[in-house]
């Protein structure tokens, strides 16, 4: 029983991490209708920034996380202004080709700068090790992931629902033409949102170095996972991808624990089943 709860919590931690990594993609896809396969590249950037700051410059871990998010957000902002603006409104094939090309470029750059090997970080001592509550063991780092990512998810949800910016964003997405007619700076809202999504991916990438590993193949290796979260969660809310990421994290971890023989396939099976049951996404209203 205790180990079942440990497995469940491990799954929740994995799901939370997956959520932070992919929520930006659901924003770009759902809100801006851009298929951005390069999303993982921002996660990779955040990961590398974190590794360099921690290992070479000895920056404390929380600061390195912030810097990773900031760097990925800045990169997202610049690339959105320079490149992505040109593919808004183009057909999806163009967007796919463009963004997959970007993934290759960024992978090659990472390979060139940092080498192809898996990067390792040394977590601070307050995050390593394990705790026990009533016989239930949980790694400190995983607990940290659950708390931090939980906060991020809450902040995003209330940001989207309660703030003025959130309201403008939802308006711009619901009907861009009318929003523009009402005087909303739709272009600027999109670039800020894009930067925010990239920054979150950067944060997720930095958080994931310890658990997911980091090498120049990162964006391709996890692209499928991000897409699964967005596909299952539905692409225009925060709660949908959140639930989807949690569900997939738990199913993935639990599957590998109880039936390791087929563990690797379970996440895809879950995706197929969920998509058959709810093709619009978990929480999306049917159109």
């Amino acid at each position: 029983m205790a180990s079942a709860i440990t497995v469940l919590l491990d799954g929740v931690a994995a799901g939370m991490l997956l959520f932070v990594l992919s929520v930006g993609l659901s924003v770009t896809l759902g809100l801006m209708n851009v298929v951005n396969l390069a999303h993982g590249a921002f996660g990779m950037l955040g990961g590398y920034v974190c590794v360099v700051l921690l290992n070479r410059l000895g920056v404390p871990f929380p600061l390195a996380l912030l810097a990773a998010a900031a760097a990925a957000a800045a990169m997202g902002f610049v690339l959105e202004r320079l490149l992505y603006v040109h593919i808004y409104g183009r057909d999806h094939l163009t967007q796919v080709l463009f963004s997959i090309g970007l993934v290759f470029i960024m992978g090659a750059v990472a390979d060139w700068l940092m080498g192809a090997r898996t990067q390792l970080i040394q977590l601070p001592s307050w995050l390593s090790g394990r705790m026990e509550f009533a016989g239930i063991g949980l790694g400190r780092y995983r607990l940290f992931l659950i708390i931090l990512c939980g906060f991020v998810a809450l902040a995003l949800h209330f940001g989207l629902v309660r703030t003025r910016f959130g309201a403008r964003l939802r308006a711009a997405v619901d009907d861009g033409v009318v929003a523009r007619g009402m005087g909303l700076p739709v272009g600027r809202i999109f670039s800020i949102t894009f930067a925010l999504g990239s920054g979150l991916a950067g944060l997720g990438g930095a958080l994931g170095v310890e658990i997911l590993g980091l090498d120049p193949n990162f964006p391709l290796k996890y692209m499928v996972y991000f897409l699964v979260v967005v596909a299952v969660g539905g692409a225009n809310s925060v709660a949908g991808p959140f639930l989807a990421a949690l569900l997939l994290g738990v199913v993935d971890v639990a599957g590998k624990y109880w039936i390791p023989e087929v563990g690797a396939f379970i996440i895809y099976t879950a995706m197929v089943v969920l998509l058959l049951a709810r093709p619009q996404g978990l929480l999306a209203r049917a159109k």
Binding site: R117, T118, G213, D215, L220, V253, K256
Partner: protein, 393 residues
């Protein structure tokens, strides 16, 4: 699909870079040069293997600058990216046909070595396998000689040692690919033959994001020891999570083959590797005059880096080729070279080794090592050894 695209893109790029400065057809005809076509993964996920072997070969050439039997040794390095057997095969063919090399060497992974084997047979070129470790490789061509190791060879001694160290039950955790299954089988065979029992056999997918669920399972099974085999870069996250999950506190010992605690990455893995017991043929901490000479030569070539078991495979491969050339008195006929090299015995930096005359595979001592901290660095300290282990364990 996308992965293949990226890899082939990089391959093309790598070849474009590698070819022009090295293609010097005028030299190919001259009789006083012995040309070795070296095929290694210099980019991609296994670049560390290529880098180590190349540095060791350059170090060997630097330490042995004199011509061998009147021949100057020339290396033609090609990058096969480590993941594309068809590329390895093509490069081997180009080296044999266009560059007229007199030997092939390198070969980072099993599928790559297998892809090049028919070319060696057809062109009658000695093929020195310096890294790839699946047992069957030398049987695929009468021209293959191996200076690396084989998986059953490295695995069997740890199973025997575990039994002697009072370990009665074990769980195996291997990556689900050919070498992993080789290791799993070899360990189980030896361990059960010695009276132990394997209570669970876990296999993780090759592209596995998270070891957590597998390790939790191990923790619940409470064996005396966990035997692991994963590709070398994967060792670090696995060790970390082994420590984080408190498996050691639960009384589970970590054992495995030495490639997981490869000298190249050992210090990056950090303290979670401390106390792990592994079996392998080479540790940079090996105490011998030959190893000290090797370390010095390697440090001169690649300052600040530590050679690993891949590097020693490259170094010994060069030694073997040079000895073969000496014995044929400079005759580069492939069949005569292979005959001259098979059966060779010498003291390698790893200890005494022999190329078995029949199987053309290496026979060597396998050491049992414990990871310890010495002078602020982590080392695999050898504390026991099994002498003259054959390629099948």
């Amino acid at each position: 699909m996308s992965i293949v695209t990226r890899r082939s893109a990089i391959t093309g790029f790598g070849i474009a870079l590698a070819t022009p400065p090295l293609a010097i057809p005028a030299l190919a005809q001259s009789g006083d040069v012995f040309r070795i076509g070296l095929i290694l993964p210099m980019t991609g996920p296994f670049a560390s293997t290529g880098r180590q072997i190349e540095a060791a070969i350059r170090a060997w050439l630097r330490a042995n600058p004199a011509p061998i039997a009147g021949k100057r040794i020339e290396i033609l390095l090609r990058d096969d990216t480590g993941v594309a057997p068809d590329v390895t095969r093509r490069l081997a063919q180009e080296l044999a046909v266009r560059e007229r090399v007199q030997a092939l060497a390198g070969f980072g992974l099993t599928p790559l070595a297998l892809a090049a084997a028919p070319i060696a047979t057809e062109a009658k070129l000695p093929m020195i396998v310096m890294a790839a470790a699946t047992a069957i490789i030398p049987s695929r061509s009468p021209f293959i000689l191996r200076t690396a190791f084989s998986l059953p060879q490295a695995t069997a001694p740890i199973a025997v040692w575990a039994q002697r160290a009072g370990i009665r039950t074990a769980v195996t955790l291997v990556t689900d690919f050919a070498p992993g299954l080789d290791a799993e089988r070899a360990f189980k065979e030896r361990f059960t033959a010695a009276g132990g029992s394997v209570t669970a056999e876990l296999r993780t997918p090759l592209r596995n994001p998270d070891y957590a669920p597998f390790l939790q399972r191990v923790r619940d099974a409470r064996p005396d020891a966990l035997f692991i085999f994963v590709p070398s870069g994967e060792g670090a996250p696995l060790m970390r999570q082994f420590a984080e999950r408190g498996l050691r506190e639960a009384g589970i010992r970590l054992i495995g083959t030495g490639d997981v605690l490869d000298d190249d990455i050992l210090n990056d893995i950090g303290d979670s590797a401390l106390g792990a017991v592994t079996s392998h043929h080479y540790s940079a901490a090996h105490d011998s005059a030959e190893n000290r000479a090797f370390l010095a030569a390697y440090a001169a070539q690649a300052p600040g880096q530590r050679p690993n078991f891949m590097a020693v495979g490259g170094w010994d491969g060069m030694h073997l080729l040079a000895e073969g050339l000496r014995r044929t008195q400079g005759n580069t006929d492939g069949e005569r070279l292979v005959a001259a090299m098979a059966g060779q015995e010498w003291i390698s930096p790893r200890g005494p080794v022999r190329i078995d005359a029949q199987s053309r595979d290496i026979v060597q001592d396998i050491y049992i090592r414990r990871t310890e901290r010495r002078d602020g660095q982590l080392w695999n300290i050898e504390f026991d050894r099994v002498e003259r282990v054959g390629p099948m364990g």
